[in-house]
Symmetry: C2
Subunit: 236 residues, 2 copies
DNA sequence: CGGATTTCGAGAGCACTGCTCTCGGTTCGT
DNA sequence: ACGAACCGAGAGCAGTGCTCTCGAAATCCG
């Protein structure tokens, strides 16, 4: 831990770069993220930042991981603020935390869940970890509800064909969560549906002016329906 | 209609530009769309294409409208191939048509339903028309099912607050379709959820290798659940 | 038919981007 | 104290969007 001055300076510069990068991301969007502009704001010539960041793509990866962490923190914080609430209530908190964060950080949200930036492929080894935090929280919520008998498990549907069964087994293994196939299918739908609702709102599919404050109300009703699909009673 | 040779040449050049633009979009993605590259493929110097297209953004709008039309045609074609089928069946056809098109044209799909291209704002007067074709088809499907008593209408939930009620009324007016609030809420969820599922698959949220052929099977199950949320029996 | 007008493509040019390279100066480990 | 590692500046290359001018061709109109 004997950090030399040079090491501390380097860490400081790295932090400055990501901070400025986050600002530019929020202000101009992902595809307009420019290393030269970051360098200008840093008060340094463009080639200097290449000492710290190998390429524009690496800066994007940095901001990607940063964004996943930020979103994960926000959701975890919101859930921690309602520790003993019923699972349906916690599901509402979970969903609204995602929506609130996405509306506060639309550019970062777009980087995480929008169209992939052309020519950029996120290195899986660095991004899958923080990237799966949110869906893991959702699956854990479902598992907790199931354990508390708060989940209305549907009549088992037709068994999954081998390929799909392997996918389910992979998910159970990756997350270390034992959920029956039907709950897993519903959980994935809830996951995708929730982000579909948020994306439509953030990306402007609901018209140029969006939904404004009524979006929260509509979103709650959508969460109720999604919770219903999962077998979770969200609202009396 | 007396098309002069010059007019025909201009129309031909415009068609060439959109054709090459579509190719580049599919090959390199939206943000990498370059007017200069299009000009090169057209065998012409870059400034020449500015005679036909005011800016890169206008080319994007051209391709945007083109994409909406293409998707709308694909879905309409698929639905037309199953004219007398029960509404649940038609809903499955509807969903899979969207998914199939999105997987075949991921870059165009990303342009329509992914994160908005930075700095680019689609002119509403040109894009809302073709852009609402798909959701209109979904609402018409729901209305047809309702008229045929094939929709299990849920017990009316709490009445919408004034702001949200105005949103619903606006949708009913815009599409000229009379649907009760609760069906409208479910329909919007189905819309967003469906595109959420497709986006997750196309944008690679299901891991680097995606779901492969099992995606269709899983998607069908998700459509069943979404249809259920709408009150539509999709599969016996 | 012939002059006036419009249209068009070519080319130069500006400001910007990502990225590489070299060249000095500072700091570090030994 | 000295060689090695590190770091910032600057030049440079190839690419981008977009603007401007200029000459040639096509069109319109008297």
């Amino acid at each position: 831990m004997a950090t030399t001055p040079r090491e501390r300076a380097r860490a400081q510069t790295m932090a400055d770069i990501t901070r400025i990068g986050r600002q530019h991301l929020a202000e101009y969007g992902a595809a307009a993220l420019s290393l030269r502009a970051v360098a200008r704001d840093l008060g340094v010539v463009s080639s200097a930042v290449y000492r710290y960041v190998k390429s524009r793509d690496e800066l994007l990866t940095l901001l990607l991981v940063d964004g996943y962490d930020d979103l994960g923190d926000a959701v975890a914080r919101a859930l921690a603020a309602a520790p003993g609430a019923p699972h349906g209530e916690r599901f509402l908190v979970f969903g609204h935390a995602i929506r609130d964060w996405a509306r506060a950080e639309p550019a970062t949200y777009a980087l995480l869940y929008g169209a992939p930036v052309p020519g950029y492929h996120a290195p899986a080894e660095q991004t899958t970890g923080p990237g799966t935090r949110v869906v893991r929280m959702l699956l854990e919520l479902a598992a907790a509800a199931l354990a508390d008998d708060a989940l209305r498990v549907p009549a088992p549907s037709a068994p999954a064909p081998p390929g799909l069964a392997a996918v389910f087994e992979g998910v159970r293994e990756q997350f270390g969560i034992a959920l029956p196939d039907d709950v897993l299918v519903a959980g994935m739908l809830v996951w995708a549906g929730l982000f579909g609702c948020v994306s439509f709102e953030v990306f402007g599919q609901y018209g140029p002016e969006g939904l404004g404050d009524d979006g929260a109300e509509l979103f709650t009703r959508h969460l109720v329906l999604l919770g219903d699909a999962l077998g979770l009673a969200v609202s009396g």
